[in-house]
Every structure is written in structure tokens, then in C-alpha cells.
């Protein structure tokens, strides 16, 4: 009996020692990413600079994508790029301040301000990327609206040629309705953009969710309208219009 108790205690001790060893082996990895600088000023500065660089890189990626986006107008591109560059300049100013800190409390405040003042990942980039999507869809919506007479004219010309256009007329009516609904969603989305600023965080999360809902619906509507247009085009061409 005593032998069994002794064996049990030994097993428990071995298990506890193993768990403790595992805990120690994982702890340094966690500390490397957050919360281990203690009173080491250079460690805090290096941490802050790494966070700043992540954000500058992400903003430069945004700028490159906006520049390459041929479905935006020049003014739309300029607005988003200007916003991104303003944030990059602000972050670089903060980096200069952080690099010059001699007091660890001030350095920690600078690091805090990377989040509190800029909210690059939480607010700025989601807002700007959704604005790109919004601008693109607004331009597409306008292209649909200005193209509606062209679509209608092609249907009427086919009808005058003796082609039965009943189906195409229904598709056209659906297209007009979908484009109209997309316009409503886009107007709503446009109204949400100005409130997506760092000062409104974390309320911006709900605003962003609403914005995404509007844009998804507009996207679905415009895709459906594009399908209607494609169907009308292929059908009229097949009918010899």
C-alpha cells in the first residue's frame, strides 16, 4: 500500500515538473512580443519603432494599390493617398520623438500614442480600403446610370427589327431597380465615412460593420445588374440585332 502511495506521489511530482518546464520554455517567446521591456528604455523604443514601421509599410501598400487602381478618379485617388501620407508623416514625427526620449515613462506614452492617436489598423486602413471599394462602386453605379439609355435604345432597336424583346425588357427593368438600390446603399455608406476617425474608436467598430453591410449589398446589386446587362447583350447579339 505504502509502495503504491509512493509511486503515485512520484508520478505527480514528475508531471508537475514537466508542466513547469513547459511553462518556462514558452514564457520567453511571449515576452519577446509584449510586456517584457521593464525599465529598459532602448527596448521600449525598439518595440515602438517596430510597431511604427509595420504601420508605415501597410500605409505604403495602400498608396501603391490606390495608384494602380484604374477604376478611381484622380480626385478619389488623391484624397486617399493624401490621407495615407498624412498618417505616415505623423508616425514619422512620433518616431523621431520616441527615438529622442530619455525617460522610459515618456517612451511608453509615445508607444501608447501609436494606437491612441493613429489607430492605423483599427480605423484608418479599414476606412480607406472601404472607401476605395465605395468609390469604385460609385463610379460603376454612375456608369450604369449614364448607360441606361444605351441599353434601352438597343432593346428598342431590336424590337423595331421584329425581335421579341420581352425577356430583355424584364432584365432591363431589373437592372434599373438593382442600380437604384445600389445607389441608395452607396449614399448611406458615404455618410458613414466621416465618422470613421481615431477619436471615435472603439465606436468605429460598429460603424465599420454598418458600412460593410451597405457596401456588400451595393456590391451584390451591381453584380446582379452587370449580369442583367451581359444577358441582354448576349441575347440581342444572338438574335441578330
Amino acid at each position: 500500500m505504502k509502495r503504491m502511495i509512493r509511486l503515485g506521489l512520484c508520478g505527480a511530482a514528475i508531471a508537475a515538473a514537466t508542466l513547469f518546464a513547459l511553462f518556462l520554455s514558452f514564457r520567453p517567446a511571449q515576452a519577446a512580443s509584449e510586456g517584457t521591456c521593464g525599465n529598459n528604455l532602448q527596448c521600449v523604443i525598439a518595440f515602438g519603432n517596430a510597431r511604427i514601421q509595420e504601420r508605415v509599410t501597410a500605409l505604403n501598400t495602400l498608396i501603391a494599390r490606390v495608384q494602380a487602381n484604374q477604376y478611381l478618379t484622380d480626385s478619389q485617388r488623391d484624397a486617399i493617398q493624401t490621407d495615407a501620407r498624412t498618417n505616415i508623416n505623423g508616425l514619422q514625427t512620433l518616431k523621431t520623438k520616441l527615438d529622442g526620449e530619455t525617460n522610459i515613462a515618456n517612451a511608453r506614452t509615445d508607444v501608447h500614442n501609436i494606437y491612441a492617436q493613429f489607430r492605423i489598423f483599427a480605423v484608418v486602413l479599414p476606412r480607406d480600403y472601404h472607401e476605395v471599394w465605395l468609390d469604385h462602386m460609385t463610379n460603376l453605379h454612375d456608369q450604369f446610370v449614364s448607360g441606361e439609355p444605351t441599353i434601352n435604345q438597343a432593346i428598342q432597336a431590336a424590337a423595331n427589327k421584329g425581335i421579341n424583346v420581352t425577356q430583355e425588357q424584364q432584365q432591363y427593368n431589373d437592372l434599373v431597380a438593382k442600380v437604384g438600390d445600389a445607389g441608395t446603399q452607396l449614399t448611406s455608406a458615404q455618410g458613414l465615412i466621416p465618422s470613421l476617425i481615431p477619436a471615435n474608436f472603439p465606436g468605429t467598430n460598429q460603424t465599420l460593420a454598418t458600412l460593410r453591410g451597405d457596401l456588400k449589398q451595393a456590391h451584390t446589386d451591381l453584380a446582379a445588374a452587370a449580369k442583367d446587362l451581359n444577358d441582354i447583350t448576349q441575347e440581342l447579339k444572338a438574335a441578330g440585332a
Binding site: F47, V132, W133, F144, A154, A158, N160, K161, L229, A241
Partner: protein, 119 residues
């Protein structure tokens, strides 16, 4: 009996008529030349406008009643379909590219929940 006014109307006309006769030849030639050129310009202009009007009408529904206009409708129908095809191609390209913008927006939204880190 003639009134004074009757005389005044008759006599000057006769006088002018008689006086104009010898001076009429050079002026008349110039006027006729200018008028002829003007008429040619006007006729030419009217002809162009007439063709233009016919072409525009041919793009409107219900404009084909004769065989000639039927030909115009055939042309306008093809033209309208071509315009439709161009619009369709342009919009298709934009809709396809819209997917990239949606993807980038989705990625940015998925990163928006990142919490604040402190060293």
C-alpha cells in the same frame, strides 16, 4: 380724277424704271452671281442637314416605314448593339476589378480587431 397721291406713286416708279434700265446690267450680274453662290451654299447645307436628320431619326424607334428607312434601321440596330456591347465590356471589367477592392477591404477589416500592445 386723279388725286395728288396717285401721281406721286405712278410717276416716280416710271422714272425709276426708266432710270434703272441703263445701270441695271453690272449690278444685276453681281447680284445674280452672289445669289447663285448663296443658293448653292444653302442647298448644300440643307442637303447635309437633311441627311443628318435622316440618320438621327433612323436611330429612333419606329422610324422605318420605307425600304430605304428599313436599311437605316438595320444599321442603327447594329450600331445600338455595338454600343451596348462596348458598355457591357467596360462594365464587366469594372465589376471583376471590384472583387479585388472587396478582398482588400475584407482583409483590412479582419485586422481591425488588433489590440494595443505595450512593451
Amino acid at each position: 380724277m386723279k388725286k395728288a397721291g396717285d401721281r406721286l406713286m405712278t410717276t416716280p416708279v416710271q422714272r425709276v424704271s426708266m432710270q434703272m434700265k441703263p445701270q441695271r446690267h453690272p449690278l444685276f450680274a453681281s447680284v445674280v452671281t452672289v445669289a447663285a453662290i448663296g443658293a448653292m451654299i444653302l442647298l448644300g447645307g440643307c442637303g447635309n442637314r437633311s441627311i443628318q436628320t435622316t440618320q438621327n431619326n433612323a436611330n429612333q424607334p419606329g422610324s422605318s416605314q420605307t425600304s430605304h428607312q428599313g436599311s437605316s434601321t438595320s444599321q442603327s440596330s447594329s450600331s445600338a448593339t455595338q454600343s451596348l456591347d462596348n458598355l457591357n465590356n467596360s462594365i464587366n471589367g469594372s465589376v471583376n476589378a471590384m472583387g479585388n477592392d472587396q478582398s482588400n477591404a475584407n482583409t483590412s477589416a479582419s485586422q481591425s480587431q488588433e489590440g494595443e500592445q505595450q512593451p
